[in-house]
Amino acid sequence: MAQITLIEAVTQALAYEMAHDESVVVLGEDVGVNGGVFRATQGLQEKFGELRVLDTPLDETTIAGVTIGLATAGMKPVAEAQFEGFIYPMMEQIACHAARMRNRTRGRLTVPAVWRAPWGGGIRAPEHHSEANEHLFTNIPGLRVVMPSSPARAYGLLLAAIRDPDPVMFFEPKRIYRQYKEEVPDDGEALPLDVCFVLRDGTDVTIVTWGAQVKEALEAADALAEEGISAEVIDVATLAPLDFDTIAESVQKTGRCVIVHEAPKTAGFGAEIAARIAEECLYDLLAPVERITGYDTHIPLFRLEMKYLPSTERVVEAAKRTLAAS
């Protein structure tokens, strides 16, 4: 079995589902001949033709709106925004229509569509190419917001997203697109949506994160282990709807929680998790909840970029602070 990267897992999932369900179509800018700017759709047009892998005009609003029309007409479109920072023109269509169509029509019209977007910073990209804005979508009722953190989860969660009968925002952490490889069987097995994955069991502190920061969280857990501290690491994976029970269970066990994310701190999705912990687990806590996040600034151009992103060291220090507090 071949070892593949996260971006190759995306391609593998798309190819599998297109081969097994002819209603699946891929559309976006450059997704055809060019195979996408990150090559996520490489080879698909040769295999499935120009209509099922459609190079659209250069207009994000068009991609988003056409995706809705395809979906309500019985297709399963997978649309690509070239970068997360280019998704803003899509938001009106996604918020006003994709997220509301089922509710608006009492289930008569539905939008079984996926919007994929390379997400987050850390690849020395130009301005507008490094946004982390998942929290803008978690606040929109009717949307699933999914973020994989490994090649295997990218494959399994993307298959699940395409098969899901409702609209899914699928944010791919591009910093780890090609960071490492792992074995991902091309067996069409989807992973469950709407559940957190406990990646590492621990008893002293819970580290909650998603996407590219899973790497820092696991590194921090390793570093803490060397000091005899047992950290549990949770990959949220589906941010909305949130599986808070898994987080609560862990916090009730450890009494401490560090939330890590790349997006700005204020009203980031970490704020939601911290608030839920305060509401439902306050008396289990042995220390204040810590949030290690991006700053409330625009992500800087790349000379300062790595100083913006949460580091492993900051996560380790935060975990230790929670232990020192009790």
Partner: protein, 360 residues
């Protein structure tokens, strides 16, 4: 200097404001006078329905409502030309087209009366049409996507979208006609140019002499039509639908009409437009000219008019009663349609709403 491209926009009209024919080459459907009477009757029932809606709003039985007064020829012309298997994506006042496709007045009342079930059209073919779209011009892209699905599956169906003159200023409109041209999609885009986008008049909406010519930029067949002349509207629609069905691509139709009402019941058009303008527009309204033409043909008279008016009133009263007797949805309906299955976390909020309901 050489010329890279040249274009012209045809203006289509068969009946003048008094209902006299201005050209002899009437389309074939006009020879069926019974059908022409049916078109008139639906225009009239649309007007009665509209008056009833405004009255309901004024008496507190309906929320904000967008009137279609003056648009009867445009809307009925669109709906009557379409085939059942086609798909219609409207904005929010195209009731004449929707009634033709089976949307019930009670459903319109329900939507504007604050009940989502008004969007769950019970009758074919409206059941596969889009619901009302309030964000301007966004529905044009849904029609483009639907047309793309038809093309991918090789179906001989057409997606039709309607927008106003103001909507043709939006990027969504241009994006939709652009991809329709680029992909040769079976899509008909209809600009119902009623001269006013709330308080912004057509003349400062766009510097283009016609709105139809925007379709030229997308490589589409484009035409301007007298939107108060149902024969012209129906003919232009039939031709556009046939071209689309035959793989000859999309069209942009500009139907020139006039909004005789306020924008919505929350608007007061007297603030921004003069009485004389509205008076002049009434002289060109769509029903008078078709009625005159039908009377001249000997197939319509005052007695028939009165009888049909009575029938429409009874129909609408019945629809109003059905609407007013509809029980409010249970509080759980707030939660049950966001996803195919209610997610666990949302189910907890649903339980809370149920418990609050029990206490109330």
């Amino acid at each position: 200097m050489s010329i890279a491209a040249k274009f012209e926009i045809e203006y289509l009209q068969y009946l003048d404001v008094e209902g006299k024919q201005v050209r002899d080459d009437l389309p074939k459907f006009v020879t069926n006078l019974d059908h022409m009477v049916e078109l008139y009757k639906l225009m009239m029932s649309t007007r009665v329905f509209d008056a009833k809606s405004v009255a309901l709003q004024r008496t507190g039985k309906l929320g904000t409502y967008a009137s279609c007064l003056g648009h009867e020829a445009a809307h009925v012309g669109i709906g009557s030309a379409m085939k059942p298997e086609d798909v219609l994506a409207v904005s929010y006042r195209e009731y004449g087209a929707q009634l033709y496709r089976g949307v019930q007045p009670r459903e319109v009342y329900m939507y504007w009366g604050g009940d989502e079930r008004g969007n769950d059209y019970q009758n074919e073919p409206a059941r596969h049409d889009f619901a009302w779209s309030v964000p301007i011009a966004t529905q044009c892209l849904h029609a483009a996507g639907t047309a793309l699905a038809f093309k991918i599956r090789g179906e001989k169906r057409v997606a039709v979208c309607t927008i106003g003159d103001g909507g043709s200023s939006k990027g969504d409109f241009y994006g939709a006609i652009n991809i329709a041209g680029a992909q040769n999609l079976p899509m008909v885009t209809v600009i119902v140019n009623n001269q006013w986008a709330i308080s912004v008049p057509r003349k400062i909406q766009s510097g283009a002499p016609t709105l139809a010519q925007k379709g030229i930029a997308a490589g589409l067949f484009s035409i301007q039509v007298d939107g108060n002349d149902i024969i012209a509207v129906r003919k232009a629609m039939e031709d556009a639908l046939e071209r689309a069905r035959n793989g000859q691509g999309g069209s942009v139709l500009e139907l020139v009409t006039y909004r005789l009402s306020d924008h919505t019941t929350a608007d007061d058009a007297r603030r921004y437009r003069g009485e004389q303008e509205v008076k002049d527009a009434w002289a060109k309204e769509p029903m008078k000219r078709l009625r005159n033409w039908l009377v001249a043909k000997g197939v319509w008279d005052d007695q028939k008019e009165e009888a049909w008016k009575t029938e429409c009133d009874e129909w609408m009263d019945n629809e109003v009663n059905a609407y007013l007797q509809t029980k409010t949805q249970p509080v759980t309906a707030m939660f049950d349609y966001h996803f195919a299955e209610v997610p666990a976390d949302l189910a907890k909020q649903r339980d809370l709403a149920i418990s609050l309901e029990k206490k109330a």
